[in-house]
Subunit: 286 residues, 4 copies
């Protein structure tokens, strides 16, 4: 993690010779020093993927100018591209329900300075974790959800998120299906943690499903939320061994450690601008 | 692994106080010294599970007598039980198709003495691995399978298996669905290796399915074969990390290492009498 | 984890036939129902190891009577044995310095009810984490340590620990070597987390040592503290992959996740009475 | 793994702006299409590291010309660089002693086409594995080693290696310390597999050392051989969980699976030109 301010470009486009040379030429022309570059192609689909991060210390363009000057190059090669700056910390809203483990994990990483983000607010459909939020001095907003008020409440949530300039939503064990208005407002910017190794055990009570099937590993999956339940692009997954001795309650308890670390790792990659989404899959330049 | 000859009892039955005391009393009464005992209960279903292994060095009963003397105790408590001896090596038939990695892995473990079994024969629906079998001096039997001859060929296979006193079938990447006659003749004695983390990616081409979904881990699962495809009791599973850089061909290549080690480990537990099957799940006393 | 109250016996002694039968006979004689039993021997040293946990629901002995009635049996077989009750929650003192990650991890597990212990106090040689303790309403005691006051301060700490009936000390990244008076007062009851895969990288700055050596995995080790630095009985270890891209600062950051989970897991086994120490090694009946 | 022929450049040099641009400009100038590029810097030492692989399908330079034309660019920036071609398969000599598991593993990978190398010969200080080599039709050369003949025998081995144009030596559990004449003839081209998680348990009988210390994980490490025993640059490491139930003999048996897969993975990276050595550490562009 470089100490000084950096810029990062994520790119995908049809492949052709000379692309790396041209992009790095743009950076070099303005005195940028590249710190990290990863590029690969998908030969089956003739696609080019790249991430490049460079130091802004001696870079001669100011931030606003970079995008406008890079745009013609991108257009010439039909690039999808995204420019981000390490100094512009992501602004997170944490959505929670009754379980505290992911919330405490993220709040303690934030408080210690490990996780370089702003967390202006916590939103919940229950009041259970109000005191947890208070322990870390983060404003807590209670939005009880019922079938009759769901659309209206999500509209109110969206207003609140916009008011706080939130750019990333983290569903930290939020046990409520998010509606389309929120999803469409934050495409590939809502991270969920699902308590199974997707695509196994989609939907409700995955630990119960895992117990019934007698699997020897339990998992957790962090993915971006799309309108297809548990079907969005996977960012990170991990598993742990379990045995016949574990009850469903044991799986629930043990799985919390997976959920915490998988969500935190996926979020780390998201906030350090390492994740590119293409065709419902992620490229994680880790 | 004890050097001397041992006996092993696997037991499950309704739970009640005194069961461990009574079973160990039977062993102690005949001068048996217990080397290893594991017992637990399933409190939800009130079930008792146990594995006990004892030395036969000073045991005063001969083998044939043990079962007949233990039977009344088992009957009294409605026990399912199974008695096995370390000196009676399992007799394996390896079923293969065209891929050699699991076959070579098992044959080299057998040749070095690591895997304490007999392998009287290899059966295949193709001739591809005939030379591989020949390298390790194991008789190779070719049974080409077509929809029209399948029933007849499996009957011939069954005759051959019985002739060689085979007690365990290992499907070492055998790419042919086994028929009911074989499955019913070897209940919980046919081990398969499926190249995914079951229940994800059941059926054909799991690595292609994994690639399409964009998972970040690939897996392998060894299970006992039942008449429900890929639904039998799971013995062992493992996974490895993959990334966006891997093509389907890379997943296929990388997955071979998982398939080899997961199958070999499941087989190890099977041949050392560590696996008990109950209600389509395994208890692995590892 | 059984809901009702249970008793647990940990035992080691010279091996001989009949020991399991005799111990389980003691339990059965008083109407105890065994929930979980693990026993094995070390054939090289002729040693017997066992853990048995039984329900006290219908047990006819009261707690004080169990130990006195079991003592003659133990003496007869030269047993080391330890009797513990699930209802008697361990009383922990957390020792910390400046790093908050292990502290927050344990406090949030405690607060959510996941970790069944009492935490009457936190002790630190710095004031840095005073506010962290306050967030979770745990009394914080500051004991600044210098070469000149170390003996005296540890005496004061010991008085405080005794006053609060502390039975287990957790060094949650306490960066100060504990003196003999404390160690001898809490034999095999002080858990440390060392930030390396011991015995690699003993002593100070293990992540720097790991970086210098160019290892491809970093680790963490939780062990009981003895008077030999970083040489006590190992309870749990785990590792994670790292690469050439990680700086020392990255290793420090990544390693925190290992430290948290390894310490929490070791502590779980300690407080659920799963750990037996013999000859500077642990038997973890997990 | 691209189907067509590719060229790969590994580079390290002092960092400065424009290096990626210049190297990719060289490739683009001759119609090369880059398939994969990874670059990063070490900010503490101001070092630049890079691997780039490009297709030779439409490349306008022939192989011999590439190096001579690239040389001035490399010299201008004080680069260490290495050019390799996917079509030039590495020529391996396998050194073995009495244990067959790594040998069989590599030979079966080679026979199935998974490992794209030539293996012209096997060298051993014992005759034990002569029949194993014969099974796979690889010439076997027996060089018994004693203190009195060691220098002379290594000279004969070196002659044989040169005669067969061997470029990589794989010590596949060769239990004999290699002399300086061989090491100096193959700098960073001799791969060893050590049966511990280095730097823990350097030297003889690491599983015995691991058992004595009571570690909860055993490991294996593949590294390039230098004149400092077990101190060369580490290419790959992995571990597996063990418990108190495992005897030393169990650790030896279980560890074989680690040794096989760790050595095979390190060798894969070596033969696919993914490994760069710098200051006794490796950069693995995996």
């Amino acid at each position: 993690m470089p100490a000084s301010d950096t810029a990062t470009l994520l790119i995908h486009c049809p492949d052709q010779p000379g692309l790396v040379h041209e992009v790095t030429g743009f950076i070099f022309a303005h005195q940028g020093n590249i710190l990290d570059l990863e590029q690969h192609i998908d030969p089956h689909e003739n696609l080019f993927f790249m991430r490049v991060e460079w130091s802004l210390e001696k870079f001669t363009l100011n931030r606003d100018a970079i995008a406008s000057l890079f745009a013609p190059l991108g257009e010439r090669h039909q690039m999808w591209w995204k420019l981000q700056f390490s100094s512009e910390r992501k602004r997170l809203a944490l959505f929670v329900s009754k379980e505290s483990h992911c919330l405490y994990d993220l709040l303690s990483r934030h408080e210690s300075g490990e996780l370089p983000v702003h967390i202006p607010l916590i939103i919940s459909n229950h009041e259970t974790l109000k005191s947890a939020a208070a322990r870390f001095d983060i404003p807590f907003h209670h939005f009880p959800i019922s079938p009759s008020n769901k659309v209206e409440q999500e509209k109110a949530q969206l207003d609140l998120l916009k008011h706080h300039h939130i750019d990333t939503i983290v569903l930290a064990r939020y046990m409520q299906i998010i509606g389309e208005s929120l999803i469409n407002a934050y495409p590939n910017h809502i991270l969920n943690i699902h308590h199974s190794f997707l695509p196994a055990f989609i939907g409700a009570k995955p630990y119960h499903q895992a117990y019934e099937r007698g699997v020897k590993l339990i998992g957790a999956t962090s993915h971006y939320v799309t309108t297809d339940l548990d079907q969005g692009p996977i960012i990170h997954q991990d598993v742990m061994k379990v045995s016949h001795e574990e009850s469903v309650e044991d799986l629930v308890r043990l799985g919390k450690d997976l959920e915490k670390t998988v969500l935190a790792k996926a979020l780390w990659w998201h906030v350090t601008n390492k994740v590119l989404v293409y065709h419902n899959k992620t490229v994680v330049f880790s």
